[in-house]
Symmetry: C2
Subunit: 261 residues, 2 copies
DNA sequence: CGGGGTCTTGAAACGGCTCAACAAGAGTGG
DNA sequence: CCACTCTTGTTGAGCCGTTTCAAGACCCCG
């Protein structure tokens, strides 16, 4: 079906930044895109964190079958959640950007119900899922944040469901481009020319949008020919964000700071 | 596009059971399908509840544009969450059965990002969203349960996304039938003949599955002709659950008790 | 130089959509 | 009590958006 992406950059260390040993020096928290935590909360989070890891592109972070109950925060790089049917058809559920939490659902059901794969080289913080209940008791604020993160991800899934269920191919591609662009923007990762890193393969886009690879490609070409965007060498530039937004019938969300961890 | 379902049973009271004034006498909690709460927690929930309402079929529970931050638990009847595109195309995100919580996402973003409509006559408990933070501080266990409910709904959305993105029409319909059947079973609402209430219109199914009304109808007929199910007068009977499950490539989840409120 | 991954393009087949029309049942008003 | 309307279910015919199949180009890497 889909060629196995092993693509491993082999023995060399993944090309993703290391994570500072102390949460107080966290690069993400310094970016200003996230809530600040009280010192006690920060200490608890740091204590809850059992490891940091770097994982090369194409490798699994959570396996679709029976993975442990570990909890992750993506520190750097891109990843995606997905589900597959028994005959190999794959649906990408959503993409994960720095600051995104994943693995939470595993805590509430036996084993993983979805897989997570690193899209680029990636650094993650790993937390002990078993102590989750403790978090709610000791730091209700963090529990609140967890629910927030979960609700926000659900909102993105709602949007994706609307997309795959009701939008045409052009609309789908347009939504994908805008949505990821906006998320990068919120993280301060968009440069002055409306450009941002965009490591997705056409296959990834197809799998996320419920389209075939070939048709995704043709649709992408069509949008590009209309001068709405360019997409080269892993970099996305929105040439005409307004037209793209209108085409996608996309509703922009306000950009308040996000909870983290 | 879609005819406005106003269908109001007019002036007569909705045909949905009233809700006991005291949470201690809650019919849902008595059913055994849900977690038990400690007396203090139950008292808090009862205090948090600002009203109970009965809403007739076809009426809005949450409006897609700027609704308040109220929180609901469905006590009896069916409802559904949905999103619409500006030209009227509608996607049903998921169906709500007794015990389901909704309105949570509203708390975390300005206004509603989806609508909720009563599918049958419905009774709901209404909670004060503004006191949500208090809940986390006073009763961490309830906060934990809230996250659980949110994560569980996300799992259902994952499944729906896989369905609309990758499954064929027959598979989609099969999944819908099985999934709703299983959920009714968990609530103890399936009778001895593998039958349960099923108030959905073909239009609802189409809107949930990302199919057209006509094609949904034909597909339904096809499955029925194969002897897999019957669907008459608002009652669904699974004639051949095994074949249906296999056709849908459906993974059954373990049935532990659910959190409530 | 060979091989795997990605992107690209054409041609043909098909699944699902749209349009259109009709039947049955329920509620409404004269 | 009977037309009228509205909702839901039903069915046929033809079209079109998307998929599938197939093949080739380019590029990086071993």
């Amino acid at each position: 079906m889909r060629p196995s992406r092993l693509h491993s950059r082999a023995v060399t260390l993944p090309d993703a930044p290391p994570i500072p040993p102390r949460c107080a020096h966290c690069g993400l928290r310094a970016s200003g895109a996230f809530h600040q935590l009280a010192p006690g909360e920060l200490g608890f989070v740091e204590d809850l964190r059992s490891a940091t890891e770097r994982v090369p592109a194409g490798h699994a972070l959570i396996r679709e079958q029976a993975d442990g109950g570990r909890l992750f925060t993506l520190y750097a790089g891109w990843a995606f959640r997905y589900k597959t049917l028994s005959d190999g058809r794959r649906q990408i559920l959503n993409f994960l950007l720095p600051g995104d939490l994943f693995g939470l659902q595993q805590r509430f059901s036996e084993g993983a119900t979805y897989g997570v794969e690193a899209l680029t080289d990636v650094s993650v913080c790993v937390f002990q899922g078993t102590r989750l209940w403790e978090l709610y008791r000791a730091h209700p604020r963090l529990g609140y944040d967890l629910t927030w993160l979960c609700a926000r991800e659900e909102q993105m899934l709602d949007e994706n469901l609307l997309t795959t269920g009701r939008r045409s191919a052009v609309e789908r591609v347009a939504v994908l481009l805008i949505h990821l662009f906006k998320r990068m923007q919120r993280l301060g990762l968009v440069d002055g020319d409306n450009g941002c890193p965009f490591p997705l393969t056409q296959q990834h886009m197809a799998d996320a949008l419920g389209l075939s690879l070939v048709h995704t490609h043709r649709t992408l070409r069509r949008l590009q020919a209309l001068g709405l965007h360019t997409l080269d060498e892993g970099r996305l530039v929105l040439r005409n964000p307004g037209a793209l937004t209108q085409l996608a019938d996309y509703a922009t969300q306000p950009l308040e700071p996000l909870p983290l961890l």
